[in-house]
Symmetry: C2
Amino acid sequence: MSDRVTDLLSTRMDAIVSRLSDYVACQSVSADPAFEPGMESARQFLETRLAEIGLDNVQRLDGGGHPAVYADWLHAPGKPTLIVYGHYDVQPPDPLDEWQTEPFTLTEKDGRLYGRGASDNKGSSTIALESLAGYLEVEGGFPFNLRCLFEGEEEVGAATLPVIFERYRDLLRGDLVLSADGGRNGFWPAINVGCRGVTALEVTLKTSAVRDLHSGRYGGVTRNALHDMTALLASLHDDEGRVSVGGFLPDAALPTEEARRHVAELGLDEDELFASFGGTPHGWPGYSAIERLMLLPTLEINGMWGGYIGPGGKTVIPNAAHAKVTLRLVPGLSPADARKAVVDHLQAHAPEGTTVSVSAESGGAPAYNLGEDSPLVIAADRVLREVTGETPVRVRSGGTSPITATIREKLGIDTLMFGFSLPADGVHAPNESYAIQSIREGIVCWPKMLTELGRIWDAKTN
Amino acid sequence: MSDRVTDLLSTRMDAIVSRLSDYVACQSVSADPAFEPGMESARQFLETRLAEIGLDNVQRLDGGGHPAVYADWLHAPGKPTLIVYGHYDVQPPDPLDEWQTEPFTLTEKDGRLYGRGASDNKGSSTIALESLAGYLEVEGGFPFNLRCLFEGEEEVGAATLPVIFERYRDLLRGDLVLSADGGRNGFWPAINVGCRGVTALEVTLKTSAVRDLHSGRYGGVTRNALHDMTALLASLHDDEGRVSVGGFLPDAALPTEEARRHVAELGLDEDELFASFGGTPHGWPGYSAIERLMLLPTLEINGMWGGYIGPGGKTVIPNAAHAKVTLRLVPGLSPADARKAVVDHLQAHAPEGTTVSVSAESGGAPAYNLGEDSPLVIAADRVLREVTGETPVRVRSGGTSPITATIREKLGIDTLMFGFSLPADGVHAPNESYAIQSIREGIVCWPKMLTELGRIWDAKTN
């Protein structure tokens, strides 16, 4: 029956891409308040579309930050409830001068659709929305109850999502979550059975000087915040690429032999991986690239600034320096423990005459594991076997969907990431894109997934 | 005779401060093209004022950058020629949110005048301009020929000043230069007999990655430009504060025992120095603060940036990082040798898989020495003995006036820095200010200086 849905959607590719284009045109950058009008237009786009495809109770769920957009279809009394998740916010488009097209104008070139959010997450959300629309149109209803939740803070740590879950607990009652977020990581067919956690810190180092100083008047006699900050941040890693923060890789977080065998089965071609983005291999010694990505925590400086960074020059000795840091977490290393290890290291290594402060925690999420016996994994395994004729491998995402951990904590249920982005999409970077082929594959798999979940649930209740 | 000039100027303090206020209101930030209208208004202010006080041939000298403003008084045939120097450009006002008053609105408070450029160099230039005006009004002429040169690129390295000197060689013929720039460094009475040189580098480190990368997708497997840049920049100093760049302090640049005795005679109170700006002592071990300031070279990171530095967060692995660096130079360490030492260090320490590039040289100036037998030193010694009743010490400025080295190279003559700024002025920082008392002292000393120079020159020619 899902084949008929796919057949229908296949005739509508132009309309689907056109709707994705409208969605990308909403400049929904959650990190920057200047983009609030774009956030609002993305919410309106979703509200219109959810109602259009036949869902009920379209509304906003307000948790005190960017509200989420909700809709449901609850016409299968006595049946379980599936929650479909996506996010309508996107990363900032910076650095703007590296875009070869307008970031918010979806532009097709050589089978790819370029634009901020074209892949993460508007492209994969479009697959979900169109599949639901087609399913309803062809079948007249779903074999379970359905709730849709599109949140607006995924790219900034989903800080108010827990509030939304608590405030709208009844509205968000469900049995499983199917997420349109996440991607294929270069392996296919594959099932995402987990992801690293994440937590963010903003670090400020200040010297005791009451102001920036003239480097002629004071150069050579006193501390320079950038000298101290570079040394402090450099102390977080050793030359080989190991995170040199005590307690950052406790025994409980060491990759197990089983996990290492598992990722080895993925057969990653490291040469191909590095060729795909031009990067040079570097990281924790003694582990392969795929192990470093899936099984080890990281500490990355995402941004750093201090002193005069405008045009020309200014001969100042800065008295403050700043850095944005994120930690990727694995099972056995909680957000709180990881933060404490890093903060302790920074405080211990800050030279005399400087003060280091770290922003309060916000939006941290622990690493996530999805069990092999979950209906989500069973269903995905069947769908991917059928579509590809191969045995799907189990992969863990190096990235983080905070929602999976938050949902398990707040709603007590499991989530499967079922997005279709690819490494070549360049998500979060300039010139992000989405392969039109990904949409074609998505509208085969999503309808089948809905059908399989219905079957598994029916088998359980019969 | 100069006393009569001072008496006259003393009755005009309100008008003098009012004119300084008009001058500060010209937003003449040379580093940022957005401030070009302010640069133009500062030039017009000078042109009007120079003509008003009775100088001739007011004109602009164009070297291809911000033009200089020139005027002269050449009615002493057969006599030597003095060139009075100042600069009309100022540092950028950043960081704006740390100003307690409007940066370009001169604001009096507790005997100080607050505003960007109030001290450096518009305050001290005002002393020079008012002294020339008073001298002409009282005496009807000068005991020598006079040329005034106010340039517009001092704060950005005076890149086109050498072009101006070559292009207007005849117009700038002279015997000595009296500069309104520089300051009193906390010692008084004192004569500036030299200054450190300076040269600037902009350093860019790039990884081999073709774009910024998602830290979830690639975190742990490849190089992060900010990790490598912090380690690279941290390697430029050791923990004790020594510049750890090979060749940066060659034997020829080591402070001599004589020089060390000389600065010891200044009797700097280090506790008082550090208390004045709140800084913590740090620098080349084995040398006092005053030695580090006057006799040793420095390498300062003035600004640094990379990755995402906007509001909120962005989980990127940056593929590029940038830093602005200046080197302060001493006799025995040329701009070219110092740059080569730093560039060689950076290239040698850049990790595999990264590329380090350094901007082309611009506006470097070697360290400067003024001989004890110069008429400028003799005249200043007499003026300061008479005014203060004390023996002036000889000081070297830790900062740099590129013009002194450039003038010696291009015009073959000596320059004395005779500005009146004080450490408490906070030049280059937010809330820059100038003591009204500095103006009062300046309008005593500058007229006497003109008189003494005339006497010394007359004695030589008789």
